[in-house]
């Protein structure tokens, strides 16, 4: 069983600042990691994912995330945020097994990002 933890419930920054949203996971096997964004009153939207290869993955709207096996982390970053990035961000994990993924996503509790204009 994998677990996903997001240590920051709230992060507040100003427009143009850089931001890092933290995600740590626990699982002994191969794992798919992804980030989703949820704007108020809407469903989740996929941002990016990692399974293997380059540990830095690029997503939509200037987001990127870096996988670290040694730290069991998959932190999300953006160099310069916009007020429209204000939303809840969820880190998710699913078990991978030699390329076959079970499809069962385990989500963290989410981080609320507030960007002040």
């Amino acid at each position: 069983t994998q677990t996903v933890s997001q240590s920051d419930a709230h992060v507040t920054v100003f427009e143009g600042d850089s931001v890092e949203l933290r995600c740590n996971y626990s699982y002994g096997g191969s794992i798919y990691l992804s980030w989703y964004i949820q704007h108020h009153g809407r469903g989740l939207q996929f941002l990016l994912k990692y399974y293997s290869g380059n540990p830095v993955v690029q997503g939509v709207n200037g987001f990127e995330a870096e996988f670290s096996k040694s730290d069991s982390s998959f932190h999300l970053r953006k160099a310069s945020v916009h007020w429209s990035d204000s939303a809840v961000y969820f880190c998710a994990a699913s078990m991978g097994n030699t390329g076959a993924n079970t499809g069962k996503l385990t989500f963290g509790h989410g981080t609320i990002l507030r960007v002040h204009p």
Binding site: V4, Y32, S34, Y36, G41, R42, G43, L44, Q45, F46, K49, Y51, F90, A92, S94, G96, G99, A100, N101, T102, G103, K104, L105, T106, F107, G108, H109, G110
Partner: protein, 114 residues
């Protein structure tokens, strides 16, 4: 391309009442998921289907919850006798394949049980 649609968007019930949620996934997506998202928490998987077959319903409270996807397209999630603890947003998602690829979420149904 139309996204995942869900109805109703909101439901308010008294304890003991029944309710059904309906989901229309993206056309061609063979895998469909139902999640429960309590307030201020991440989504928690209840059940998922590959075509019409249930792949995993281990987190579905089977005494009161049921889910079907009879033709491998639309799906219905039903709560027979709602409890206050069922208050949450119910999200439907779909994907092509097993979900190592991204999942596409609907807007959800916000359920309040009084």
């Amino acid at each position: 391309e139309a996204g995942v649609t869900q109805s109703p968007r909101y439901a308010v019930l008294q304890e003991g009442q029944a309710v059904s949620f309906w989901c229309d996934p993206i056309s061609g997506h063979d895998t469909l998921y139902w999640y429960q998202q309590p307030r201020d928490q991440g989504p928690q998987l209840l059940v998922y289907f590959r075509d019409e077959a249930v792949i995993d319903n281990s987190q579905l409270p089977s005494d009161r919850f049921s889910a079907v996807r009879p033709k491998g397209t639309n799906s219905t999630l039903k709560i027979q006798s709602a409890k206050q603890g069922d208050t949450a947003t119910y999200l439907c998602a779909s994907s092509l394949g097993w979900g190592g690829d991204e999942q596409y979420f609907g807007p959800g149904t916000r359920l309040t049980v009084l």
